[in-house]
Symmetry: C2
Subunit: 187 residues, 2 copies
DNA sequence: GATTAATCTTACCACCTGGTTAAAAATTAG
DNA sequence: CTAATTTTTAACCAGGTGGTAAGATTAATC
């Protein structure tokens, strides 16, 4: 066992939180799923909230890396933005549990009420991800590929909030989503 | 007191659930907010889940009625769809707690694996609301005001998931959102 | 092989949870 | 005014919660 234990707990927590949400799952459940004793969880993570923080940061990172790694070599803007949407959709399809976690906990993370250092960091993490999309869109405006009346912040908001939500409605076609979004941002 | 007690509990629960989510709030908390004894809550609602169900159904109804009441007299399609967006935005602005509740619990309601009669009804309630938007959009396609390549289901998905989410980001301009959505659905 | 450090287990705790019960208070009906 | 009914109260319960303490086991260091 030894060193991979922490990772097993993280993975189990990711799945558990994605299925039942932070408040819907107990540390004992997570421990069972990871095949470890409950106290071991607290050995590796000071509290349930800290465990969640670790899961959140890792989940956003995975999404972020998956999307932006694939488009970084593309220099033709329109191709880049198309690749961006494709890889976003790809992530929703293949990493359903991570996407579900993000969708489920987004509200709790962004909800302004709690202002502890830990929750401010989680908020930051997510906002930073969105900002990268805003930057991508602004790049297109500078290149005159995206019309000026399409504001980047709001478009990024539309993209992030509507693509992820599709996992809760099996009838939604991601291809149609892609088509509509592309239609919206291009002339 | 007497008959209005039930309503006070409902209102308190609506606020409580919107702020902390179903699992994040206890029945005792709700009771305190409503100014009643905890047992009174169980006197009016058989269980916490039933209380939530009542809150959910009422919240969706309020949103639904607010939006569709205002547009039912409009016969010019483009005006109707513009009014629709305006009243949607109006609701987000003025009924923040209800919107927050819907945004927060949407995931839980839609992804509930347990197919109990109660949770199936909640899912149904929300899907029915979305369907009304789909119908509105399809009406526009029949009237040739909305292009065929803009699929109604996916557009409704975009609208419902992105407008509501704005409450968690104070920097998002609802007017810009409106502009973008209008741009998307019209030629 | 002994010492030290890292990891894991068992047992426990105080508190909170949704929910119940039986009786008291308030309201309504006769 | 009294009896029946509705509404509210306080006290309680069994099970679960996040979290802790102390010791046992394993692994690393000398």
């Amino acid at each position: 066992m030894a060193k991979e234990t922490r990772l097993r707990i993280l993975k189990a927590a990711q799945l558990a939180f994605s299925e039942k949400g932070f408040n819907g799952v107990s540390v004992e459940e997570i421990a069972e799923m990871a095949g470890v004793n409950k106290a071991v969880v607290f050995y590796y993570f000071p509290s349930k909230a800290d465990l969640f923080a670790a899961v959140w940061e890792q989940s956003i990172s995975e999404l972020e890396e998956h999307i932006f790694e694939e488009i970084k070599d593309e220099s033709v803007y329109l191709k880049k933005v198309k690749k961006f949407l494709k890889s976003y959709i790809d992530f929703v399809r293949n990493k359903r549990d991570i996407m579900k976690l993000i969708e489920r906990e987004k509200v709790g993370v962004l909800s302004e009420k709690n202002d502890s250092i830990i929750s401010r960091k989680l908020k930051e993490k997510y906002k930073n991800f969105v900002k990268k999309i805003v930057d991508l869109l602004n790049e297109g405006k500078e290149l005159r590929e995206i019309p000026n009346e399409v504001s980047a912040e709001e478009t990024a908001n539309i993209i992030t909030n509507s693509i992820g939500a599709t996992i809760f409605d099996p009838n939604i076609s991601l291809e149609n989503m892609e088509k509509i979004i592309l239609r919206t941002i291009t002339k």
